[in-house]
């Protein structure tokens, strides 16, 4: 079953492009910290060097003389970490709410969906800003804040899948075996509800990376961690004289967000059985 899905992914151009871009970013994060082990906050060279001016600082330096390449590597790690971790939290909360609501229906569902609606009515970014501000800016708070604001769509998706799946005959068959509810949910319904969750999680990663960059740009990032948003925030005063300081991390964010969007779109096509028949 999963082999077939993998084959479909490998036949999908969007998915391949997204996957390649993603691999490139992971390589930069891993190999980069190997070749550029320095502290991104340290003054490493003369300030305001343009890319290519000095081979020691291939991507130039900012106004404080901090090496941008080192900062980019640090930012890549932060972006990937925050993206994956917060999308994981979002999936976990969304699956739990959606699965319980769709499986038990009735008042359980009404209660859980009311909470979901509550989270959906507050604008995501505003809520994330408030959460980070209240709980001290750090990578961990950013991960939790972004995860906590982004789960409602996943919950709705899982709930609607469960509402359909619970009436399917193989689920009834498992019930007539006397299978317990947790086992029923985990072994029968969830595996069949997972593909769209994987798609939405890829898109959640993209959104999370953007949100983290925005938080850092606003100075709500971890004060000890250099992220792409931090570099842009620091460079925004010189954007006319030295556009590369904002431009390099800006392009990086664009590429990563594009990568996860392509991947999500490709997965969506690959996992959609209607498209296979054509």
């Amino acid at each position: 079953m999963y082999r077939i899905i993998l084959e479909h992914i490998l036949q999908n151009r969007a998915a391949i492009a997204g996957l390649l871009l993603l691999v490139a970013v992971i390589l930069i994060a891993v190999l980069g910290s190997f070749y550029l082990p320095g502290d991104p906050w340290e003054m490493a060279n003369a300030p305001m060097l343009w890319p290519g001016d000095d081979p020691d600082s291939p991507l130039g330096t900012d106004i404080m003389g901090r090496d941008i390449a080192t900062g980019m590597v640090s930012g890549a790690k932060v972006s990937l970490l925050v993206g994956f971790a917060s999308a994981f939290i979002s999936a976990l909360v969304g699956i739990t709410f959606g699965a319980l609501g769709g499986f038990y229906r009735g008042w359980v569902d009404a209660f859980l969906m009311r909470i979901t609606e509550l989270f959906q009515t507050v604008p995501q970014f505003v809520l994330a800003v408030v959460l980070v501000a209240v709980f001290k800016p750090s990578v961990v708070t950013a991960v939790f804040a972004i995860g906590i604001v982004s789960w409602p769509p996943t919950a709705r998706l899982v709930r609607s899948a469960f509402l359909v799946l619970r009436e399917r005959e193989f689920v009834l068959a498992a019930r007539t075996l006397g299978m317990s509810d947790p086992r029923l949910i985990l072994t029968q319904l969830l595996p069949n509800a997972l593909p769209p969750v994987i798609v939405i999680s890829a898109l959640n990663i993209a959104t999370a990376i953007l949100t983290e960059a925005s938080l850092s740009f606003l100075g709500l990032g971890d004060p000890n961690v250099m992220s792409w948003g931090t570099i842009i925030g620091n460079g925004r005063e010189q954007v006319v004289d030295a556009w590369y300081i904002c431009g390099i991390p800006g392009i990086a964010i664009l590429v990563v967000v594009l990568a996860f969007n392509l991947l999500g779109e490709g997965l969506n096509d690959a996992l959609n059985p209607q498209l296979h028949k054509r």
Binding site: F170, A173, L177, M179, T187, N192
Partner: protein
């Protein structure tokens, strides 16, 4: 097809009589069983005060048009949802009053084969896993014993042993139905409820699956509640037949009685609909009844006799007074004001 099946037809009447005389409770007994679904459109009277008895090792056929409440009956028996009124006794015990251990034990003895072979198997589970699942849930044997049992089951229903590693989409409808039967058989149940188990299959495959069910009955003495909208299929499988119309049992008799001397006008209409060269000789010079119109809505069942809107013999009394099931012959009951005498 008929000839193939007839060769396999075994009658369990002897066993049934023995049980009756020894004062053992019947395997399954339904008492005034009713189910009302509350929907946006109103209250659906899917099942109204149904009484049925099924003895050990017996096959009871349940026949009636689509929408008359057969699946509802099956699902109530499987405890997939609770009845609105009435009782279900399994082995003499009310299933609504069982504790957790009793419930689990009953699940092992009471299994079901579903209608849709494309929906009844988990698409993300290998066949081996699907067949092993009942054994895991009921803690039967260790890993080695379970694998052996899975192989045995596959062989028993006529599938290759390698099927265990395959996934449902790799099988045809008939093969999937064999897998569904193997799953129902895994725990060696006393009763298997077959809800339209062959209706979704090609006619050629149908006979094979029916024969498999008959084989299993002969080998293990399993009882069936065999549900179908097709009287011809039900007749070949069943010792006794109950005919349902709009949530009610209207006639119940040994299979041969239903076939030779159907008393209820609705049963006669079902007989008339069977495309068979023998039909003339069976029905003799009885009038052939063609069913007119659709099944009335169970949201608002007709007053008096529920068949009144489509019955060619309907009279004023039928609209005013509901006919009760009365004995017409030994083991033959019918609910019609004019069927007896």
């Amino acid at each position: 097809m008929n000839a193939i099946i007839e060769n396999h037809l075994t009658t369990n009447v002897g066993a049934i009589h023995q049980n009756a005389t020894q004062n053992v409770p019947p395997l399954l007994e339904l008492k005034r069983l009713s189910k009302i679904f509350t929907t946006d459109a109103g209250q659906v009277h899917a099942l109204s005060s149904v009484d049925l008895v099924l003895q050990r090792g017996e096959t009871l056929g349940l026949v009636g048009e689509s929408g008359c409440g057969k699946s509802t009956l099956a699902r109530l028996i499987m405890a997939l949802y609770p009845p609105s009124a009435g009782e279900i006794l399994f082995d003499g015990k009310n299933i609504a009053q069982s504790d957790k251990a009793e419930r689990l034990a009953r699940h092992a003895r009471l299994q079901m084969v579903f209608q849709d072979p494309f929906s009844s198997l988990n698409p993300r589970q290998s066949i081996g896993r699907t067949l092993e699942e009942p054994l895991i849930v009921h803690r039967r044997g260790d890993k080695v014993a379970r694998k052996a049992r899975v192989s045995w089951l596959l062989e028993r229903v006529g599938l290759h042993l390698e099927s265990a590693w395959r996934y449902p989409h790799e099988f045809s409808g008939g093969q999937r139905q064999r897998i569904g039967i193997a799953r129902a058989l895994a725990l060696r149940p006393d009763l298997i409820v077959c809800d339209e188990a062959v209706s979704a299959l090609d006619v050629s495959i149908r006979a094979q699956i029916l024969n498999l069910l008959l084989d299993l009955r002969a080998a293990y003495g399993v009882a069936y509640l065999f549900i179908s909208h097709d009287l011809a299929v039900v007749r070949h499988m069943s010792d006794r037949i109950a005919v349902m119309y709009l949530g009610k049992v209207v006639e119940q008799a040994p299979s041969e009685n239903i076939w030779r001397a159907p008393l209820h006008p609705y049963t006669q209409a079902l007989m008339s609909a069977i495309p068979s060269p023998h039909r003339k000789s069976i029905l003799g010079n009885k009038k052939r009844i063609i069913l007119q119109g659709d099944l009335p809505s169970p949201l608002n069942p007709p007053s008096g006799c529920r068949f009144q809107t489509r019955c060619p013999y309907a009279e004023a009394r039928c609209r005013a007074e509901e006919p009760l099931l009365q004995a017409a012959d030994k083991g033959h009951t019918v609910a019609c004001h004019f069927a007896i005498g």
